[in-house]
Amino acid sequence: MWRQVGRRFARLTQAVRRARRSAGIGLLTPRVKRSGPPKIDVSRVGHRFGNQVVALHDVNIEVHAGEFVCLLGPSGCGKTTLLYALAGHLEPSGGRITIDGLRVKGPGPDRLLVFQEPALFPWLNVRQNLVFPLRARGLSRAEADARAREYVARVHLDGFEETLPHQLSGGMRMRVQLARALALDPAVLLMDEPFAALDAQTRGHMHQLLQQVWTRDRKTVVFVTHDVREALVLGDRVVVMAARPGRVLQDLDVRLERPRDPDDEALVEMSRRIRDELRRAEAAGAAEGQDARIAADGAAPLGPAPNLGAPL
C-alpha cells in the first residue's frame, strides 16, 4: 500500500514538474552570483556620445569564463556601444571594463568582435579573407589554407571560396565573417546580431554550429540580439536591456537543457514573458522612466532593483 502511495506521489510530482516546465516556471531565474573572479567584468560603465546621447548608464555585468551570455534589447539601447567597449574600439566615458583583471585598452588578440555589418575586406575573396588574418597570427600558408577551407565549409559556403564579397548575399557575407572569427579561435567571442540577416533554416544551422564550437572549446561568448527566442536558444544567461538611457533591466539564468528547440513550449512561454517585460519597460520609460521588473518566476518580483530609472 505504501508503495502504491509512493508511486502515485512520484507520478504527481512528475506531472507538476511537466506543468511547471510547460508554463516556463523555474526555468528563468535571476542570475545567481558565481564564485571566483569573472573573465569579463563590466563595472558601473556609462557612455555618453559627443552629441550628448547617453548610450549606456550604470551597466554592471560579470561574465565568467565559458559562459554564453546574450545581450537582449530594443534597437538603440546601447548593445553595439557596449560590445565596442568590450572589444576596445571605444573607451566608455565612465566606469571600468576588465578582462582577466586587466583593464581593456584597445583591441587584443584574446577577443574578437563579429560586427553587426559584414566587415570583410572587399578586395579579397572568401578564402583570402580567412587566410589573411590567419597568416597575420603566424600560421604557415598551408595551415592557414586548410583552416580556411574547413571553416568555410562549416558555415555552408563550400564552393564560394574564390568568390568576392560583393558577389555574395548579405547573409552569406555574415557567415564569412563568422567563419573568419571562429577560424581565429579567440578565447572571447563578441558577436553583434550576427544572424539577423539569415533565413530561419540557415539561422538554425548557424545556432547549431555556434553551440558546437562553444561546447567543444568552452569559449566565453557575449552575443547581442534583439530576437528573444534566439537569446533563449543560445544563452546560459540573458541580460535584458532597455533604451534611453541604455541600461540593464534584468540579468537572468536560463535553465533549459541543451540542445534547445526554438519551438519548445517552455521556451516560447519564456520568450513571451520577456517580450511583455520589454514592452512594459518601454511603456514605463515613455511614461516616466519608471522601472519595471519581470516577475520571472511568475511569483514575487526579483529582489530589489538597482535604481535604474534614476535621473542622470
Binding site: H89, L113, F115, L120, W123, P133, A136, L164, R180
Partner: protein, 243 residues
C-alpha cells in the same frame, strides 16, 4: 569626321593665309613626314622617358607622403599647409628655381615634372586614406592586423580606388609640366619639336606635334588608367559587373 571636313573647308576657303591655318590633310602629311624621318619618334621617346622617370619619382614620394599626411598628426600639422599652398602654384613656376639650383640640365626638367605632380598625388592619397571605411579599420584591429601588414595589406588596398584617381591626375599634371618645361628650356622632346615648327614658320608641324601630344595624353589617361581603374573598381565591388 564632320569636324575634320569643316576644318579642311575652313582652311581652304577662309580669308587667312593657307600656310598659317593648314587643314587636316596638310597636318597629317606633316605628321607622316616627321614620323618617316624619325624626328617624331625620337622626340616622343625622349619626352616619354623623362615623363616616366619624373612620374615614377612622384608616385614613389607622393603616395607615402599622402599616407603620412593622413595617419600622422605630426606630419599633418607640419606639412599640410605647405602642401596645400604649393599645390596652388602652377608647375612651370618651379622652372626658374630649378635652373638656379640644377642649371640647364635634365635634372631641372625632372624637378619641374616632380613638383608638378607629387603634391596632387599626395593630396589625393591623403583623401583616399581618410575616406577608408572605419569599419574596415576596426575589423583589422579586432583581427590583430598591425604594422607593415596593416599598411600594405589593409590601408593601401582599401584606399586604392582613390589613390588610382590621384595617380591619374598626377600623370596628366606631370605631362603638362613636362611640355611646359620642354617648350621653355630646349633639350629635345616633343616640346622642342613644337618650338622648332614655330621657328620654321611651319604651322602644319606645330599642329601635328600638338596632335601627337594630345594622342599620347589621351592614350595613357583614357586607355591605361581607365582600364586599371575599372579593373580595381570592379574587384572592389564599386561598379556593376558587365552583363
Amino acid at each position: 569626321m564632320v569636324p575634320l571636313l569643316i576644318w579642311e573647308l575652313l582652311s581652304r576657303i577662309g580669308p587667312w593665309p593657307h600656310w598659317l591655318f593648314p587643314g587636316p590633310l596638310a597636318v597629317a602629311a606633316s605628321v607622316v613626314h616627321m614620323a618617316a624621318d624619325g624626328r617624331l619618334g625620337t622626340a616622343a621617346g625622349r619626352s616619354l622617358a623623362r615623363l616616366v622617370q619624373g612620374y615614377a619619382l612622384s608616385a614613389l614620394a607622393g603616395v607615402p607622403l599622402g599616407v603620412l599626411l593622413a595617419r600622422s598628426t605630426l606630419v599633418r600639422d607640419a606639412l599640410r599647409p605647405v602642401v596645400l599652398g604649393l599645390q596652388a602654384l602652377p608647375s612651370i613656376c618651379w622652372l626658374p628655381l630649378a635652373i638656379l639650383w640644377f642649371g640647364l640640365s635634365e635634372t631641372s626638367i625632372l624637378f619641374v615634372v616632380v613638383m608638378g605632380s607629387v603634391l596632387a598625388i599626395a593630396i589625393a592619397t591623403e583623401d583616399a586614406i581618410a575616406g577608408v571605411d572605419p569599419l574596415i579599420l576596426r575589423a583589422a584591429g579586432t583581427l590583430g592586423i598591425r604594422g607593415a601588414r596593416f599598411h600594405a595589406g589593409v590601408l593601401l588596398p582599401a584606399a586604392l580606388p582613390g589613390i588610382l584617381t590621384g595617380l591619374k591626375l598626377g600623370w596628366s599634371f606631370a605631362w603638362r609640366a613636362l611640355m611646359a618645361g620642354e617648350l621653355l628650356f630646349v633639350a629635345g622632346g616633343l616640346g622642342q619639336l613644337l618650338q622648332n615648327g614655330r621657328e620654321l614658320l611651319d604651322a602644319a608641324q606645330v599642329m601635328g606635334v600638338m596632335a601627337a601630344i594630345v594622342a599620347i595624353g589621351v592614350a595613357v589617361d583614357r586607355v591605361l588608367f581607365r582600364i586599371l581603374e575599372l579593373r580595381v573598381r570592379r574587384r572592389w565591388g564599386l561598379v556593376e559587373e558587365p552583363a
